[in-house]
């Protein structure tokens, strides 16, 4: 607990130095960030909007990393979940089914898409011992190109083909009204909206927590993550576990993608300056690392980092360094991982031994 907190302190300290170097007032800037993230009117609502995808990808990374399965493919799994989720939403939303059914279908489709995409590196790792870091990472690019292809390069199901705008610039088809995910209004700060995705993320975190702490499945994951040899010795089915955990991880990220479509963008957003520029998948890894892969802590961290993101978006301007948020985030990750070193080893300062003169005297 001390180490992540210490990392944050160090990160802010280091960023403060950067600010000073560029002629800004660190404490003032930090105050601005805090206000923009949590205090100003409507800030909390925006923060939740930023935090929701981070919660999903953070949970996805935590679920896998807990077992030392380094699923770096959260980004791609999120895209695929967005694709499958959007497909379900477009289809069921337009076909006259009830809103609840359409939304449920989107949730299921998002999970399924993400899980399937994650199973590719999963199968390769389980059966061929291929390094999942590389395979999952590469698939991120594939997913990105698929996204581009579906909206920019073809007249696909996802693409908007009618209307004036369609001829000018390719966009995704808007989601039918019945497939748009609802929001609950909370009367704080003049009324903020709690998107359905946020609620699902909290639920997912709880389920994940119970799964990993209280079930046989979770026990096996613990053992496998700690010592694959001990797991095999004890008769645990390693390959099945790898597939299951990758699927869960991918499903969570895919759910994040469906949430992006259903909660916020209401379309399949393939714009290179839109969903893709946010790098939710990679940010999720930072979130998971800071939360030490504990699902409940991940929620909290996602909220905080979401606040940071929100502040960065809101404050960008001539008088506020636009890259600062990115710098702080990077420093946080760097310090969090560097902090691990302090957890594992104890630094000791050793005095150099006595001088030779003293030795001669003693002899």
């Amino acid at each position: 607990m001390v180490v992540p907190a210490g990392s944050l302190v160090f990160a802010f300290f280091a960023s403060g130095l950067v600010l000073l170097a560029t002629g800004h007032d660190p404490l003032g800037s930090y105050r601005q960030i805090f206000d923009a993230a949590f205090v100003n009117t409507g800030a909390l609502g925006q923060t939740i909007v930023s935090a929701t995808p981070l919660a999903f990808t953070g949970l996805a990374a935590a679920a896998a990393f807990r077992m030392r399965l380094f699923n770096i493919g959260g980004e791609g799994q999120l895209y695929i979940g967005a694709i499958t989720g959007a497909a379900a939403g477009l289809y069921f939303g337009g076909s006259g089914s009830s809103s609840a059914f359409a939304i449920a279908a989107m949730v299921v489709a998002g999970c399924a898409g993400g899980a399937a995409w994650a199973l590719i590196p999963g199968v390769l790792r389980a059966f061929f011992k291929t390094n999942e870091i590389i395979t999952s990472l590469m698939l991120n690019y594939v997913a990105g190109y698929l996204l581009t292809y579906l909206v920019f390069n073809t007249e696909s199901y996802w693409r908007q083909t009618t209307g004036f705008n369609a001829t000018v610039f390719p966009t995704g088809k808007p989601l039918p009204a019945s497939a748009v995910w609802p929001e609950a209004t909370v009367h704080v700060q003049g009324g903020i909206g709690l998107p359905l995705g946020a609620g699902i993320a909290v639920l997912a975190a709880l389920v994940l927590w119970v799964l990993y702490r209280r079930t046989r499945f979770g026990f096996e994951v613990q053992v496998l993550g700690d010592s694959p040899r001990a797991a095999r010795y004890a008769g645990m089915r390693t390959r099945r576990k790898i597939l299951a955990v990758m699927a869960i991880s991918g499903a969570l990220a895919g759910l994040g993608g469906a949430s992006q479509v259903g909660d916020f963008r209401h379309t399949l957003d393939a714009d290179p300056n839109g969903m893709r520029k946010q790098y939710y998948g990679y940010a999720g890894i930072v979130v998971a690392a800071l939360g030490r892969y504990n699902p409940l802590a991940v929620l909290l961290v996602a909220f905080l980092i979401g606040g940071l993101q929100n502040a960065g978006n809101t404050l960008q301007g001539a008088d506020f360094p636009s890259g600062l948020v990115g710098v702080i985030q990077g420093l946080i990750l760097f310090s969090a991982l560097g902090g691990e070193l302090l957890v594992r080893y104890r630094l000791r300062l050793v005095r150099r031994a006595e001088t030779p003169a003293a030795a001669v005297e003693a002899a």
Partner: protein
Amino acid sequence: MADAGTQVIGRRGADGAPPSSAVEMRGITKRFPGVVANDRVDFEAAAGEVHALLGENGAGKSTLSNILTGLYRPDEGEILVYGERVQFASPRDALDAGIGMVHQHFRLVEPFTVAENVVLGDHRGEGRSFRLRRRAIERHVAEISTRYGLHVDPRARIWQLSVGEQQRVEILKALYREARILILDEPTAVLTPQEAEVLFATLREMANEGRTVVFISHKLHEVKAVADRVTVLRGGRSIATVSTAEATQRSLAALMVGREVATTERVEQATEKGDVVLELELCSVAGERGPAVREASLTVRSGEIVAIAGVAGNGQRELAEAIAGIRAPVEGLVRVRGRALRPGDPRAAIAAGVAYVPEDRLGTGLAPSLSIASNLALKAYREPHVSRGPLLRLRAIRERAVELIARYRIAAPGPHAQARQLSGGNLQKVVLAREFSARPQLLVAAAPTRGLDVGAIESVHAYVREAAAEGMGVLLISEDLDEILALADRIAVMYEGRIVGEFDARAADVEEIGLAMAGGHDPRQD
């Protein structure tokens, strides 16, 4: 073997004057978190003697020698080499001061040749030139090799050599560097009795030249056989330094343990030997580098303790893993109580009643970061009283752990403590507690007392005997012939993957067994 032109260093005075000190360690203290490994230890070894450092596992011998070779720095105390105060910042400084060490776990590069390993890291002589002068090095190595009777082909690659030969390479490394003080850490752990004899002769030869040999061991009869003097360590402190001529095994044991202890004696078990519990039929198992076990056949009956003797690396581990289901045999069958086990399926073996205590306790037998309670439930977590459906009964797991910790007297802060915090002896107790409480038909124990102190060794031996008394079949795999002779009913010897001999333990002849362990080859005739 040594010719008259050998340089003699610091030999004893001809008039019987006391030998000059080659190395002296005064007041050495070394602390690690939670333990004082060396507590104001004094140690002194003279030129021209073989000086043994005796102590049970955990007494601080390895720490002391690691300080002497520059791997650790002492928190307090000083080291003098040939009367001069020295400070080692790294092993290289120690090597330059003439201190060479042969570690228990060899530091050799397997794909390299003997010559390449010997010259590795050497910054004098042939090692200095930019080009590798192979032939010059090989010639030099061959010279040293013949001079000391350490026969090994300088051009052979390490992985091709037997463990005994690899140890010779380690000694050659030290001699090549002209080490005047040679430290050997438990060197006979990997040797057959005959190879140990040859080693002792070599060490005596080196001492006669004026070198100092420090011999670290916990085996009393070896210390008596090879050393001139022995320093006993206990609990991190130096207890006494005695001349081996005047000490007996019994007196040394008492010094080592601090109480009167019976030297490992054979206890005859009057257990009825029942039905066959384990049957291996022409089992062949592949290892990482080719066939490890070749057509091995063996039976173990209920109530019987069958031991597999042999130097480590002759297929014992692969055999144990095949029985436990971790490795699938490429040929042959493993039968437990008559039923063939599904190959390569640990769960099937566990269900059939096979308990396995692996030699790699912390790496295979336990999950180090998990709690003791979790480790105790490692195999039992599927059972109904520990889990209800998919959910674990955490309280049942904890209660079971508390009970087992009490019953097996495991010294631990509590059931929630991490496994890796426990000492070697307690780790082994956790593994044994878990395996025993599963009421197995067959207990396979691989090197169960390796690295344990005398008290823990006694406990483990007691459990093994108890297992047999309760009707389990026990397969004991060990490199320690003394242990095998004390416990086993029957002894099978493994060499290069084959079972090359079976002996009745009561009528066992150590000579014969030792020869079988070396594949029939007597190293004394080299």
